[in-house]
Structure formats: structure tokens, C-alpha cells
């Protein structure tokens, strides 16, 4: 895998205490309305039989994929990916088609369902706090996390850190770093003590979901030109054949008429 040289998050589910301070910090930093959020903590509750109880929660926000599917899907190019990681949504271009929501395998982009035409209904999602990154700060959710369940840094370093934790405590974790290769690699690496599916993470494979779609799109222009040329050729050929047929028919008709004239 080519090394992705940008910032990333590392989330460790064993450290998360479900305090939801990250949700508050995010909403304060990004001035999100009370009934909306860009980040949410999903708890799976208690599992198992006493005394062997397992509890897990997952902090969920944009994965900032190395090859974002939302960016590929957006018809008007409202998404951009900064070289240092953040996938940014630009509301001034958005037409509100919500194809990005269909494209994202993680279900991240959200829409303003309660906004009319005048207020303007837009997509919203995590931005990785580029305004803070540019000042050398961590994103708000990471800065506020009391247990370091969320940490932030260079993706390469965090990958090493994640594998180091797996090696140091082999019994504690599921032996996998989710996001390292998933969907072409994401900027959100996840360690967990319960199966990732239980945290609500989809099984997406290592190829970005946009790949097949983009390959097929690549055929569009050549196909259109070829098909257009073929149709034009067919139209001309059919026309010529029909003309020829008509000429032959006219000739025959003439031949039939000529003897009559000779008799006259």
C-alpha cells in the first residue's frame, strides 16, 4: 500500500468511557445547532453474562478516506480532499442531491431535512477541524478527550502506534486495525475489543467503493463517440441502400413502361 502522508485519528474503543465530551467540544468549536451533530458516540450497551460483561462504545465521524467516495460521487465537485488529510464539503456548490450520502459506505454525510428553500438545506459532516490544524492544534474532539481514546497525529505514526498496542496486549483487542486498508485506507484508525461489526462499522473491503463506478464512467466518452459514429454510419448506409433500391425499382418500372411505348 502506498504510504498516505497525512494526518489521522486513532480511536481505541477499550479506552472510551462514553462521556460524549467530544460531541460537545465539536459542536462548540464548529457552532453546530443543538439538535445537530457532526460526531456521535454509539454505545452497544452491555453484552454477555455476569460477571463476564463487555461494554463498548464507538466515536463515529467522517473517516476522511484517502480516496473519498463522496468526492467521486458529487456531480458538482462540492467535496475536496486536502493533501494533509481533511475531506472538506463546500456548501456554496452543493445542489442538495444527496448522492454523497448514498455513496459514503459509512453513512457519514447528513442533510438538513428541516430547512426550507430560504434557510437553505445543506449537507453537514466532520471537517477534521482544518481551522485548528492550520494553527498547529488538534481537532476539538481529540483535544477534549479525557482518556486519550481519541488521539491525533501523522497517519504513519498512528499506524505504528496501533500495531504496537495490538502486540503489547494481544488478548485485549480484535487483531485488526480498522481503517488501515478499509475502503482504500482512511484517516480514522480504529482499535476494538469487540468485533467491528458490533460497533456499526461496515465490511467494505480494501478497494474504495467508488472504483467500479469510476471505471465504468471512464468508458462514457469513448462509447458515446463510437456509438455516435456507428449510428451515423448506419443511417448513411441505410439511406444509400434504400436509395439504390428505389432507383432499381424505378428502372424496372421504366423497363416495363418502355415496351408499351414501343407498341404505341
Amino acid at each position: 500500500m502506498p504510504e498516505i502522508n497525512h494526518k489521522a485519528f486513532l480511536f481505541d474503543a477499550t479506552r472510551c468511557i462514553d462521556c460524549r465530551a467530544c460531541m460537545v467540544a465539536c459542536s462548540v468549536e464548529n457552532k453546530i445547532a443543538m439538535d445537530k451533530t457532526r460526531i456521535w458516540v454509539a454505545g452497544i450497551g452491555l453484552k454477555g453474562e455476569f460477571p463476564h460483561l463487555v461494554r463498548a462504545s464507538m466515536v463515529y465521524h467522517c473517516m476522511h478516506c484517502n480516496e473519498p467516495d463522496c468526492l467521486s460521487a458529487c456531480p458538482v465537485g462540492a467535496y475536496t480532499k486536502r493533501p494533509d488529510g481533511p475531506v472538506i464539503y463546500n456548501a456554496t456548490k452543493c445542489i442538495g442531491c444527496r448522492y454523497c450520502m448514498n455513496a459514503c459506505p459509512f453513512g457519514v454525510p447528513h442533510f438538513d431535512w428541516d430547512k426550507g428553500l430560504l434557510e437553505g438545506a445543506f449537507i453537514d459532516k466532520c471537517t477534521m477541524c482544518p481551522q485548528r490544524i492550520d494553527k498547529g492544534l488538534e481537532p476539538a474532539c481529540v483535544a477534549t478527550c479525557p482518556t486519550d481514546a481519541l488521539v491525533f497525529g501523522e497517519r504513519a505514526d498512528l499506524g505504528k502506534e496501533a500495531h504496537a498496542r495490538l502486540q503489547a496486549h494481544p488478548g485485549r483487542y480484535v487483531d485488526h486495525v480498522y481503517g488501515e486498508f478499509e475502503n482504500g485506507g482512511t484517516a480514522y484508525l480504529i482499535l476494538s475489543h469487540v468485533p467491528f461489526a458490533e460497533l456499526g462499522l461496515p465490511d467494505v473491503g480494501t478497494r474504495p467503493v467508488k472504483d467500479v463506478s469510476e471505471e465504468v464512467m471512464g468508458f462514457t466518452i469513448p462509447f458515446a463517440l463510437g456509438w455516435g459514429a456507428l449510428l451515423t454510419g448506419t443511417a448513411v448506409a441505410v439511406h444509400l441502400v434504400n436509395q439504390r433500391k428505389a432507383a432499381v425499382a424505378a428502372e424496372k418500372a421504366e423497363k416495363v413502361e418502355q415496351p408499351e411505348q414501343a407498341i404505341k
Binding site: T37, W40, A42, Y60, D69, L71, S72, A73, P75, V76, G77, A78, K93, C94, I95, G96, C97, R98, Y99, M101, N102, A103, P105, F106, G107, H110, F111, D112, W113, D114, K115, G116, L117, E119, G120, A121, F122, L199, G200, P202, D203, V204, G205, V209, K210, V212, S213, V216, M217, T220, F223, A224, W227, G228, L231, T234, A235, V238, H239, N242
Partner: protein, 390 residues
């Protein structure tokens, strides 16, 4: 339908147009509410289900049932099959109105309908939706040109009609190319959801399947629309032409079935055929009703030659293939389980379209039917009966 409401002796209005107008008025109110209060206020769409009934019915079905227009234009102009000329204008009108309905529905469904033209200035070449948007917009213009001679003839502006007629070929070819592209790429629209669309439907050759099935939908739509308008306008039915179209349908359906099952076998997905519960039921409903049954029906000459056989044959194709569009774009799409990660206030966990949602689509469809009736009544859409052979 025999009942007439006599406003005065000259003006007689049958109840059907009034019902259609009422449905349109309801849809208009729904649309205004949506513009004022937001999509969530009138629909059950949510972050877990960003696309729903509108996309499946208005976009996927609306585009598919409009495919008769390019089929007839191609047959008459490119292949010079002049005998199909009586079907040309009604098909182009159906397509024209069909696409207008698609665009009207999208203007309600889009979050920012006033920005729909952004597709022409901010183009993202990797987006399938962009291709569809551009194709639909351009094809709508092509259809306007293809239909313009009818309007000019109605206005007795024969010169304009002849002028357009002389330069129609490039537009016909462009129309066929655009139609091929966006009929197939409606299928490509789902390619980006390999993890969400059930494997019985997701395949890289979705565009090919979509195009093939669109051919059968277009042919069936021509048959159905001819049957209905012959009944409503009390005209003769061009059975000798429709019979030929109906003869093509089993061939295309056969090809469709071979591709469909060939693909499933090739991908190793045959195991899902009977073991996927509701998904298997939906799959077989679509295949049996939309493909197998009409393939058998239209293989009989008797069916192809009887007006009733034609009507019901075309109807089952449409029902089955429209179910296919609903399956691919809605029923078989599983978004990440919202229960496990979405905060409940962010979205409905289950999606069933709301009544206003359905009423909006019904209203737009009513507009299409009413417009077809009015245009067919006042413009030379149908050939005068005495000109027809037989």
C-alpha cells in the same frame, strides 16, 4: 366515463381531467410546503434513507418509461422503417412529457433546485449523477426539437416544420446516443454502493442490464400508450405495427435473462437465488413478472395480434421491470444499520414513504397524463385515420 358535467352547452368537461387537475393541485400544495418547511416536513426521508420513493418512481421509473421516444426516432429516421411513423409522434410526446416530469420531480427532491444548472459549470467528471444530469438536460432539448414540427404543424407554420425536418438527423443520432448513455448509467448510479446493494442486483454490468431492460420498457410503453389512447380518443389501434414491436420484446427479454443469470453464475451469486428471504421473493417477482411471463405471452402470435393480449403483455413487462427499478434503487439497498450508529434523532430508522410524498408523485404523473391528452387533442400527434393503411 360516460358522465359529463355540462357547464354550458358548448363546454363539456369529462370528470377525468378534473380529477387530474385536483391531484395536481394537491401536489402543488405539497411542493410549496416542502419549499417552505424542508423535505423532512413532508417526507419520511432521513439520513438513513436519503433517497426514497421519489427517486425510485419519478427518476428511475420516469426515465425508463420514456425510452420509447428514442427507440421510435431511431427506427424511423436511422433505420428508415417508415411504417412505424404513426407511432413516432406519440412516442416522442410520451418521452418529452416523461422527462419534463422527471425534471419537475427533481426540482422538488433536490435540496437546492435553484442550483440545478450548477451541473453545467461545476463538472465533476467521475460522478455518474453528473453524466445523467447532463444527458437528461441535453436530451430534453433534443426532444423539444424532435417534437417542434408537431407544434409548428399545429400552428400551420409549415415552413418552420419543414426547416426542422431537414436538419433532424443529427439530433436524432444525438438523442439515441444520449438515451443509451443515461438509460444505462442510471444503473451505474448504484455501482458506488457495492456494500449496500444486495448481491442479487449489484454487478459491474448493471448499466448493460439497465439498457436492455429499458428497451423492453420502451417497447411496452408504446404498446400500452397506444392501447390507452385508442380507447380514450376512440381511434383505431395500429395492431399491425404493435404486433411487430411485441415480437421484438421476447428476443430482448431472452437476451436480458441470459445476461442476468449468466452474470449471477459468473459472479458465484446463484446461491442467493433461493436463500435470501424477502430479497429472493423480490428477485423472482421481478424476473417472473417482468421477463419470463411476457416472454412466454408474446411468443404466441395470438397474443401479439389481439389488442387485449398486447395490452396485458405490455402491462406485465412494465410492472415487473418497474419493480426491478424499485428493487435496485430502494428495496434491495441496505444502508449501514442506523440502529447501531445513528443517534435516533438524526433519522427515521425505517422508511415507508409518507402520504404527501406519494401524492406529489401522483400529482406530477397526473400532469403528464393531462398534458398528453391535451396535446394529443389539439396538435397533430396522431396521424389522421384515413392516412393509415388497413
Amino acid at each position: 366515463m360516460k358522465m359529463h358535467i355540462a357547464l354550458n352547452k358548448r363546454l363539456r368537461i369529462s370528470p377525468l381531467p378534473l380529477v387530474l387537475l385536483a391531484l395536481m393541485a394537491i401536489a402543488f400544495i405539497v411542493a410549496m410546503l416542502r419549499y417552505a418547511l424542508g423535505i423532512g416536513a413532508i417526507s419520511n426521508l432521513s439520513n438513513a434513507y436519503p433517497w426514497g420513493f421519489w427517486i425510485s418512481f419519478d427518476l428511475f421509473t420516469g426515465v425508463a418509461i420514456s425510452s420509447g421516444g428514442f427507440l421510435m426516432a431511431g427506427a424511423v429516421y436511422i433505420f428508415e422503417l417508415k411504417q412505424f411513423k404513426p407511432l413516432l409522434r406519440p412516442s416522442i410526446l410520451t418521452a418529452f412529457l416523461g422527462y419534463i416530469m422527471v425534471v419537475v420531480a427533481l426540482l422538488v427532491d433536490l435540496g437546492h433546485p435553484e442550483r440545478i444548472w450548477y451541473m453545467m459549470i461545476h463538472m465533476n467528471g467521475t460522478s455518474v449523477l453528473l453524466e445523467i444530469g447532463i444527458c437528461v438536460m441535453t436530451y430534453l432539448a433534443v426532444l423539444a426539437i424532435e417534437f417542434a414540427p408537431v407544434v409548428f404543424e399545429g400552428l400551420k407554420w409549415q415552413k418552420f416544420a419543414h426547416f426542422i425536418h431537414r436538419f433532424i438527423m443529427p439530433f436524432v443520432i444525438l438523442g439515441v446516443v444520449l438515451s443509451t448513455l443515461h438509460q444505462s448509467s442510471l444503473g451505474s448510479l448504484l455501482l458506488i454502493q457495492p456494500a449496500k446493494l444486495y448481491p442479487l442486483w449489484w454487478t459491474p454490468i448493471l448499466p448493460i442490464l439497465f439498457f436492455t431492460s429499458a428497451l423492453t420498457i420502451g417497447l411496452s410503453m408504446i404498446i400500452l400508450e397506444s392501447s390507452l389512447s385508442s380507447r380514450y380518443f376512440k381511434r383505431g389501434l395500429e395492431v399491425h405495427l404493435l404486433e411487430k414491436l411485441a415480437g421484438v420484446i421476447p428476443i430482448v427479454l431472452g437476451i436480458y435473462l441470459i445476461i442476468k443469470f449468466g452474470q449471477l453464475a459468473f459472479a458465484g451469486d446463484l446461491k442467493y437465488l433461493f436463500t435470501s428471504g424477502l430479497m429472493s421473493v423480490m428477485f423472482w417477482a421481478e424476473i417472473l413478472v417482468g421477463a419470463v411471463l411476457p416472454l412466454l405471452l408474446f411468443s404466441f402470435k395470438k397474443v401479439r395480434q389481439s389488442p387485449r393480449g398486447l395490452f396485458y403483455g405490455a402491462l406485465v413487462v412494465l410492472l415487473g421491470m418497474i419493480l426491478n427499478r424499485f428493487n435496485v434503487s430502494w428495496f434491495a439497498v441496505k444502508h449501514p444499520d442506523p440502529l447501531s450508529y445513528l443517534p435516533t434523532f438524526m433519522g427515521n430508522v425505517h422508511y415507508i414513504p409518507s402520504l404527501p410524498e406519494v401524492l406529489l408523485s401522483v400529482g406530477i404523473f397526473s400532469f403528464g397524463i393531462l398534458a398528453f391528452g391535451l396535446v394529443a387533442k389539439y396538435l397533430p400527434v396522431f396521424e389522421p385515420e384515413e392516412n393509415q393503411k388497413e
